[in-house]
């Protein structure tokens, strides 16, 4: 077996740091997280984190965070017992306007319409499959990225 040289070891350690950021988004998406806070947690600048995360995962941390929030919002709306406003705050979005814009962008219809149309849509699907198929699939980048992705990196 060819053991990775040191440069690769550093690269793999950096990837593991990005994994911790992504896992933190999965764990804490409902909290008022932003890219600055995520970057501080792994001692990176927000710009550097955004660029490296996007290289590794194909989307920026802000985009992943919003996708995660909207995925959860879709599940709550399918349940049908919460209002759009309740869902918006429950998944960690502070602004109903931003939530509605992102939701519509990702799902293809506004949250209210989704709530009316999709009640019970995943019933009867095995749980492990439902976990995959009810995830939203992002086909275009999030507009107006929150993170200063073009800002010069501090490191």
């Amino acid at each position: 077996m060819n053991l990775p040289p040191d440069a690769d070891a550093v690269h793999l350690r950096d990837l593991a740091r990005l994994r911790r950021v992504r896992d933190r988004i999965d764990r804490e998406y409902a909290k008022p997280l932003d890219v600055e806070a995520l970057a501080r947690g792994v001692h990176m600048s927000a710009g550097h984190l955004s660029r490296q995360f996007k290289l590794a995962y194909g989307e920026s941390p802000y985009s992943y965070l919003m996708t995660r929030r909207i995925e959860r919002a879709m599940a709550l709306l399918r349940r049908g017992d919460m209002s759009v406003t309740q869902v918006c705050f429950d998944v960690g979005c502070a602004s109903l306007g931003t939530f509605t814009t992102r939701f519509t962008e990702l799902v293809g219809m506004p949250p209210g319409a989704y709530r009316r149309e999709q009640g019970g849509a995943a019933e009867g699907i095995p749980p492990c499959v439902a976990r995959q198929v009810t995830r939203p699939i992002r086909t275009q980048p999030v507009r107006n990225e929150e993170a200063p992705a073009d800002a010069p990196a501090a490191d």
Binding site: M1, P4, H11, A16, R20, D26, A122, I125, P127, R131
Partner: protein
Amino acid sequence: MELTIHSTFLPHNDPDAALGFYRDTLGFEVRNDVDYGGLRWITVGPPGQPETNIVLTPPAITPGITDEERRTLVEMMAKGTYAMIILASRDLDATFEKVQASGAEVIQEPTDQPYGVRDCAFRDPAGNHVRINQVK
């Protein structure tokens, strides 16, 4: 024909760290520990399920894997997008507390999923995604 699941494989990148997680934290028994040329294959499993094994194996050493494929595979392990296993516990919350207290990386606290499962999730030391379901 009556088949059972005998062995499944998860990659590790540090045999001692893998033992710390699967044996010391999850409480699995070690059924075999093979050292060959400095590489280790460690067979573990739950004491109550002696016929089903997880073999913790060095990654990407199968003959025929190219250097580029090997690089991709260890990168996917590091970024946490490679392997997953789902375990189950009769007391999910107690299991979660114990695994969290070991210092394992938490992906998800115990949560009632909209598709009817209550589960939590961790990373093992190699970056594998380990989910634990509540047994109903």
